[in-house]
């Protein structure tokens, strides 16, 4: 418990120290901020590794309460607690390790930035919230971490807040994620309605006495409670993990500094959705229709993002779409109940994708801030170490044997094949394979465009091209070690059964995989590489002609199939219009006009009309008086008699 608490809170200490230094604008103490945050992160990472070792080897679960949070009623309380099982421990280890590397890398990357203390503070704060997310014992607390990482992501994307594009991107990220949070909240309140609890172990316990529960929406419409809860959580997971439909924020999030992209938008935060699916796998097993939906969404995302990735010019956007696509793989794995495979891919992906992003950062650094790949080229002579590291990352991403990605991706593909053999559709497997081909293709497209051919940058930029300093290289080398060896080292561990303790009780079915199917992914990846190399080294001119011929199509694909444009036209503009319509026509035109103003007008008109009675003329008054008298007299005479 103490160790778990230490892993969690130490990054917060670092964040607070750096945050205070930044708040009080003590530029002279920047070094202290850097030192403290990195040290805290280092300590946290070490303890997290130790904790993971403890939890996994000894197969024990750390569970403890810290403080009471929201008491629901006398018997049910929501508490601040920690819950570390093997899943949390693995996540915590990955998060802290990658975060530590990124912290160190940032020292070099952000050198000279006048608000580096603020940056380090945000990074540590993000790590804290991410740890909070993975180590929480109840859903509401998980939601806190969930929102917390969203907040840190908002702050970090918009770190350079004088840049308008960065501000727009950060807001977009936050609001898109909030759509998912809507689902999260619904899932949480649904759990409370069904289980009277949000504690994950307690829900698991109560679920063993499984019975059907229903939510009544209207008199005629009821929905299975588990399906409802799972759909809600799925929406949450989709937003966080940038699945198709809610993915629009991720490419834009690349406005943030590159270390942020590596840590948050590749290795850790975006995997939170997958983590949620794995964490609540026991619930999803009761909602088979939602699981099918997960497979479909994952497949669409994997293919869509890979296709869009092919057409990107910006080096970071290529990798961002690639992340999106890989998350699609993880979703597919979750959808076919291969949670261990999803987690395995999550871990290996964290290493090689962080490596790719940090290398991209070095490239951008070398190119004086240029991100357009069309303006790069021939860099391998100038920055050989980064070149080698990109190769390693890409090989791992493409799933070449012996590199990390091979083991996890291959496993996912095999389980998709198994899914098809078990009566499911074969389409996910085919999509998985074709995405693997595209992945290999766009990776080598990136390498060819950036590192080979002639340099297209101008003279001034060219003269500045330089290899990154040691402080940026060392973290990348360490991550590269992970990208190479994490697969082969952990494959035995992940494939052993019952890895995710308590998470689900279903044995993962072993399939007999024919030999051809086993080598198919490798063939596909290699052919993708070969095609990319041949196209970009020998057929570039032809390619250019083709691109011109299909200019419009390629522009649409490059813009991500115009999903952004669609959202702007279908949602944002109408909402804006509705806002001003309501203000001018309902608020002012209806309520105010016929409410208070109408009343005031009515009174003034009425008094205006009544004013004519007061003529001030004695004769008029006398007439009225006589008329009244006559009336009364008549009344007495005629009616009363």
């Amino acid at each position: 418990m103490i160790m778990a608490a230490a892993v969690l809170w130490i990054p917060l200490i670092g964040s607070c120290v750096a945050g205070l230094i930044s708040f009080f604008n003590q530029r002279t103490m920047d070094d202290v901020a850097k030192l403290v945050t990195c040290m805290c992160m280092g300590v946290s990472a070490l303890v997290a590794l130790d904790l993971a070792y403890d939890v996994i080897i000894a197969k024990k679960i750390v569970h403890g309460e810290m403080l009471s949070w929201i008491p629901l009623d006398d018997h049910h309380k929501i508490t601040w607690g920690l819950y570390v099982d093997s899943l949390s421990a693995i996540m915590a280890a990955v998060v802290t390790c990658v975060s530590f590397m990124v912290h160190i890398y940032s020292l070099g990357y952000m050198k000279g930035d006048k608000s580096i203390a603020r940056f380090m503070s945000y990074l540590s704060l993000f790590t804290f919230f991410m740890l909070f997310l993975v180590m929480s014992d109840d859903l509401l607390q998980l939601f806190l971490g969930w929102e917390g990482v969203g907040l840190s992501s908002y702050l970090l994307i918009g770190f350079w807040f004088h840049k308008d594009s960065a501000n727009a991107a950060s807001m977009k990220a936050f609001i898109t994620n909030r759509i998912g949070d809507m689902g999260m909240v619904l899932g949480i309140v649904g759990c409370i309605a069904v289980f009277d609890s949000v504690s994950i172990p307690e829900i698991l316990l109560k679920l063993t006495t499984f019975d059907e529960a229903f939510f009544r929406l209207t008199d005629h419409l009821t929905i299975n409670a588990y399906t409802f809860i799972c759909i809600s959580f799925l929406i949450g997971a989709m937003a966080k993990s940038a699945q198709f439909g809610l993915h629009v924020w991720l490419p834009d999030a690349m406005e943030g500094p590159t270390p942020v992209s590596a840590l948050i938008h590749a290795a850790t935060m975006v995997t939170a959705g997958v983590f949620l699916l794995i964490r609540l796998s026991f619930l999803f097993e009761y909602a088979p229709s939602v699981k099918t939906a997960i497979v479909v969404i994952g497949a669409i995302t994997a293919l869509f993002a890979a296709v869009v990735g092919l057409f990107q010019k910006d080096i970071k956007r290529v990798i961002a779409y690639s992340t999106c696509s890989q998350l699609g793989y993880m979703f597919m794995a979750c959808g076919v109940s291969m949670y261990s495979a999803a987690l395995f891919h999550l871990v290996t992906h964290a290493f090689f994708k962080a490596l790719l992003f940090l290398s991209a950062g070095s490239v951008i650094h070398a190119m004086s801030g240029e991100q357009n790949m069309r303006k790069m080229g021939g860099l391998y002579k100038h920055i050989p170490v980064t070149y080698a590291l990109v190769w390693i990352g890409s090989l791992a991403l493409a799933g070449i044997p012996l590199f990390a990605g091979y083991y996890s991706k291959d496993w996912i593909l095999e389980s998709l094949y198994g899914y098809a053999m078990d009566g499911g559709s074969i389409i996910p497997y085919i999509i998985g394979l074709s995405s693997a081909f595209l992945t290999a293709f766009y990776s080598w497209r990136l390498i060819s465009l950036v590192f080979h051919g002639d340099c297209k940058a101008d003279e001034r930029v060219q003269s500045h091209i330089h290899e990154a300093p040691m402080i940026m290289l060392i973290p990348k080398v360490i991550l590269a070690v992970g990208a190479v060896f994490s697969g082969i080292a952990l494959v035995g561990f992940f494939t052993s059964s019952q890895l995710i303790s308590g998470a689900y009780v279903f044995t993962e079915i072993e399939h007999h995989i024919p030999g051809l199917i086993q080598v198919l992914p490798i063939m596909v990846a290699l052919s993708g590489i070969a095609l990319a190399v041949s196209v970009y080294h020998t057929q570039r001119n032809k390619l250019a002609i083709w691109l011109v011929r299909f200019k419009r199509a390629s522009a649409i694909i490059q813009s991500g199939f115009a999903v952004d444009e669609f959202y702007r036209k279908a949602f944002i503009k109408p909402l804006q219009w509705l806002g001003s319509f309501l203000y001018h026509h309902i608020e002012k035109g209806l309520i105010d006009r016929y409410g208070p103003n109408g009343f005031a007008l009515f009174i003034s008109r009425l008094s205006g009309a009544l004013r004519y009675l007061q003529t001030g003329n004695v004769r008029d008054y006398a007439i009225v008086m006589i008329a009244g008298l006559m009336g009364m007299l008549g009344y007495v005479v005629v009616v009363i008699k």
Binding site: F23, H162, R178, Q576
Partner: protein, 490 residues
């Protein structure tokens, strides 16, 4: 055992301060410095008295405590009677914490007629306190309405350009509600033959014929809904806020709106539980419309004060939802939401005031890039906005999630609709932050100063409350627990 009447002291102390202000004489400069010193010290003393009240309050009891009665008017039922339960205690806390801060906040911005200004503020505090502690319906009504007078003066004398229109609108709306309320109170009072709140029991709604009790429910509801304010009775609020001086805005949003919610809990829940349950779909529908409608309107505003005012309407939607869900969690959530909104909106109005004093404009489009010129001010504003969009760890989240839980249990459909606010709040909250604080620095803000120590202190106190309620709401909920259990069945 007769304990010291702390509540009466709480009520009288600000009035005493106000009387004292009458006797201040001297040159205008002296008057200014003396009046504000006296006013500040009075509110501070009131806060100390409140601490005693807090100390004396026993959360284990479910009925009214610290009661103090003085029979008056020959036993016509119009006696002076005060007492508090958990809900009133929290409302008192909000009032007595905010008032000294409000005094400090307006320290140097009021130069004309300071005497009257501070008298109005102190009277207002006394009246608000009176409304929260009254155990007599008529006394409650008198205080409830008396609050209007100082507010009317504050807006009418120290307000902005269109203050006359705003005050009349404000007065027209609230007075319309008051008349309905008064009639309802009189009918109930004469029927029960007592004006004591304790006698307002659920039997009342069965004692009348159904038409009459429905009419009574609506009369009270409209009266309360105008105060809180709820769609479509809310249009006085943005105008009043825009024209009011900053201090008045802080009180208006921070405390005054809570009177409506408080009265709903006090009268509707106690006297009309069945009818309130019957009308839950209506109220829930209106509240959800309010959340969506006000959020969209807040988004389309260019005046910062209007934006915050509309966000208040949206947040009060959660309060009504929670109250009329008639479950323990919902009512507790509603009270927490009231406390939280009081602090957050006061903070936001203060932020707007800080900006206004520096640039003399409230037009969002004239701002930009404040964060690069005044980073500390921006951090403070950002924390308040986080509360506004109810991020977890802030108090706003606790209130909203509790209300959502309660509503979802009562009706899944309304529960689903309630969460729409989660998406809408950041749309207006963050676009406000982006336009004002981020981006390139505009001309107007080039030379502004960062936060001063006084401003920093005020903001920190408010932020501490937000964080405290957000992280450890148990301390607040414990106060409410027994009170609410006694109030609702579920």
């Amino acid at each position: 055992m007769i304990s010291f009447p702390f509540l009466t002291l709480l009520l009288v102390l600000p009035l005493l301060g106000a009387v004292l202000l009458f006797f201040i004489k001297g040159s205008p400069v002296q008057i200014l410095s003396n009046t504000r010193a006296v006013a500040l010290w009075t509110t501070c003393c009131t806060f100390l008295v409140f601490l005693f009240v807090w100390q004396e309050f026993d959360p284990a009891k479910s009925h009214f405590q610290l009661t103090h009665q003085i029979p008056m008017f020959g036993g016509m039922g119009l006696e002076y009677s005060v007492g508090i339960d958990g809900v009133s205690l929290l409302m008192l806390m909000l009032t007595s914490v905010l008032m000294p801060l409000v005094m400090l906040a307006g320290w140097s911005s009021i130069q004309t007629r300071p005497k009257l200004y501070y008298i109005a503020l102190l009277c207002m505090q006394s009246f608000i306190t009176g409304a929260f502690i009254s155990l007599n319906v008529i006394m409650f009504y008198v205080f409830f309405e008396a609050v209007l007078i100082p507010m009317f003066l504050l807006i009418g004398i120290w307000g902005g350009e269109h203050r006359v229109y705003a005050t009349y609108k404000f007065f027209l709306f609230t007075f319309f509600g008051s008349i309905l309320m008064l009639v309802a109170f009189l009918v109930i009072g004469t029927y029960v033959n007592s004006f004591n709140i304790v006698d307002c029991k659920s039997v009342i709604e069965e004692s009348f014929t159904s038409n009459v009790s429905h009419a009574l429910w609506w009369a009270l509801f409209i009266g309360f809904a105008i105060k809180i304010p709820m769609i479509p009775f809310h249009t006085w609020l943005p105008d009043a806020h825009v024209q009011a001086p900053a201090t008045a805005s802080m009180i208006l949003a921070g405390v005054l709106l809570k009177l409506g919610g408080y009265a709903m809990i006090r009268f509707h829940l106690l006297a009309f539980p069945n009818l309130s349950a019957h009308y839950f779909p209506v109220v829930a529908g209106l509240s959800i419309i309010a959340i969506v409608y006000a959020s969209l309107l807040a988004w389309s505003q260019s005046d910062m004060k209007k934006l915050v005012a509309y966000s208040s309407v949206a947040h009060m939607g959660y309060v009504t939802l929670g109250i009329y869900s008639q479950s323990a969690i919902g009512v507790k959530g509603a009270v927490i939401q009231m406390v939280s909104h009081g602090v957050i909106s006061a903070g936001l109005f203060y932020v707007v005031d800080m900006l206004y004093r520096r640039t003399h404009t409230r037009d969002i489009h004239q701002y930009g890039g404040v964060a690069s010129i005044a980073p500390k001010l921006s951090v403070m504003a950002f924390i308040f906005i986080l509360g506004l969009i109810s991020l977890p760890i802030t108090s706003g989240f606790v209130g909203e999630i509790m209300v959502t839980i309660a509503v979802f249990k009562v009706s899944q459909l309304f529960g689903i609709l309630t969460v729409v606010g989660i998406v809408l709040a950041p749309i207006y909250g963050l676009s406000f932050y982006r336009q004002v604080f981020l981006g390139k620095t505009s001309e107007k803000v080039q030379k502004i100063k960062d936060i001063t120590l006084k401003e920093f202190a005020i903001c920190s106190v408010l932020i501490l409350i937000i964080a405290w309620v957000g992280i450890y709401p148990k301390s607040v909920i414990d106060v409410l627990d027994n009170t609410v259990k006694h109030m609702v069945k579920g």
